[in-house]
Subunit: 205 residues, 2 copies
C-alpha cells in the first residue's frame, strides 16, 4: 500500500499492530479520525496512555483496578472463602454480570500453553496456591474455558493444592439454556447426561 503522506502511513502502521486490524481497516479508522475534531483524537490518545501508564492490578486477585485492592476483594459482603479461578478480566466481568456469584475471584492472566510459550510460572498460580496453603480458602471453582489448555491449567493447579484441605469444583458443562438438543455437539450432550442434576434442583435455579 503506497501512502501519499508519511504521517498517514505511520498512523496506519501503528493502528494495524492491534490484533484483528489489518492495513485496510486501519486506513478506514484513521481516515475517519481525520474527519473528527482534534479534541476527540487527543481524548483518545490520552485515555489510552493514562490507562497503560496508571492502571493497577489488584494485589489480591490480579483483577484490573484503579486502587491497590479491587472493589470486589475489598467488599466485606463477599465470601472470601470461595474463590473462582478465571483466565482474564473479561471472565470476571461476564460472571459479575450474572449476579450469581458472591465469592472472590483469582485472575490467572492466561492459560498454560506450551505452544504459545506460556508456562505455569508466567501465570499467577503461585499466589493462588499460597492462599490455599494458608488455609484461607474453602472452595476453589475452576472457571477456565473447556479447551486442552484450560484443562491442563485446571489439572496443574489441582495437583498443587491436592494435599491441602480445600474443595474443588468446575463450572457445569451442558446444553445452553434455550438451545435445541439436535444441534448440540456429542461431547457436551454426553456430559450433560452423565452429570445430570435432580429435577427439584433445576426448579430452584
Amino acid at each position: 500500500m503506497e501512502f501519499s503522506s508519511k504521517l498517514l502511513e505511520r498512523a496506519v502502521n501503528e493502528m494495524s499492530q492491534l490484533p484483528g486490524i489489518g492495513k485496510r481497516t486501519a486506513l478506514r479508522l484513521v481516515l475517519h479520525m481525520l474527519k473528527q475534531p482534534k479534541t476527540q483524537i487527543q481524548a483518545l490518545s490520552e485515555a489510552l496512555q493514562s490507562m497503560r501508564n496508571d492502571i493497577k492490578f489488584c494485589k489480591s486477585c490480579n483483577n484490573i483496578s484503579d486502587v491497590d485492592v479491587c472493589e470486589i476483594c475489598a467488599n466485606p459482603h463477599r465470601n472470601e472463602k470461595i474463590i473462582c479461578v478465571v483466565e482474564d478480566i473479561r471472565d470476571v466481568m461476564a460472571i459479575e454480570n450474572t449476579s450469581s456469584f458472591k465469592g472472590l475471584y483469582h485472575v490467572l492472566g492466561g492459560k498454560i500453553s506450551p505452544m504459545d510459550g506460556v508456562g505455569p510460572h508466567d501465570l499467577n498460580i503461585e499466589s493462588l496456591v499460597h492462599k490455599v496453603k494458608e488455609g484461607q480458602v474453602e472452595e476453589l471453582i475452576f472457571a477456565l474455558s473447556s479447551t486442552m489448555e484450560g484443562d491442563t491449567t485446571n489439572f496443574y493447579i489441582y495437583k498443587q493444592i491436592q494435599a491441602y484441605n480445600v474443595q474443588t469444583s468446575t463450572i457445569a458443562r451442558g446444553i445452553s439454556v434455550g438451545d435445541e438438543l439436535e444441534y448440540a455437539d456429542e461431547v457436551t450432550l454426553g456430559r450433560s447426561i452423565v452429570n445430570r442434576i435432580p429435577f427439584e434442583t433445576s426448579l430452584k435455579s
Copy 2:
C-alpha cells in the same frame, strides 16, 4: 458493561467511538494494549495525534499530503490536462496501484447525499469547476462508485461544466476480469453488452 477501573472504562469508551468497533472489540483491543510495552502505546498515541494535527490537504487536488502540493500534482511527468474525479483518498490509492493512469486527481471528499445531509457545497466541487473554467482541463474522468449518490454527483458536476470545452468520460462498467457470466447481475451484464468494445482494442489492454 461494568468495569472494575475508570481508566479502563474511559479507554474502552473512546475506542468504541471508532466506526465498526463496539464495546466488546474495544475491550479486547484495550486489554491487548495493556500487555504491550508502554513505548508502543505512546508511539500509537503520538502517531494519531501528529497525523490529526499536522496532516495537510493538497491545495490543488485535495489529496492527503505532508506538503502544500501533493507528490502527484507536483510530478512534472504527469498529464495535468486529464483529471480523474474520485470520492476519497482511498480511491486515489487504488487507482495509483494499477499504474494505468498518468493524469492528475481531484478528490471530492464524499458524494452528494441528501439523506446524510451532504450537499454539493460540502464537497470540493467548486475548485474543480474553477479549473475547468480556466481551460486547464481537456478531459474529466468520473470515477465515483456506481450508486445513486455517485450518479447524482457525476450529473451535478456535468451540468456545471457542460458549457465549457471539456471532454467527460466515466470508468467502464462491466464484468470483472475472471468473473463467470452466469453470476453477474443483470444491470452490469446488460451494460457490458451495450457498451461493448472492439475486440482489437481489448487485445491491447
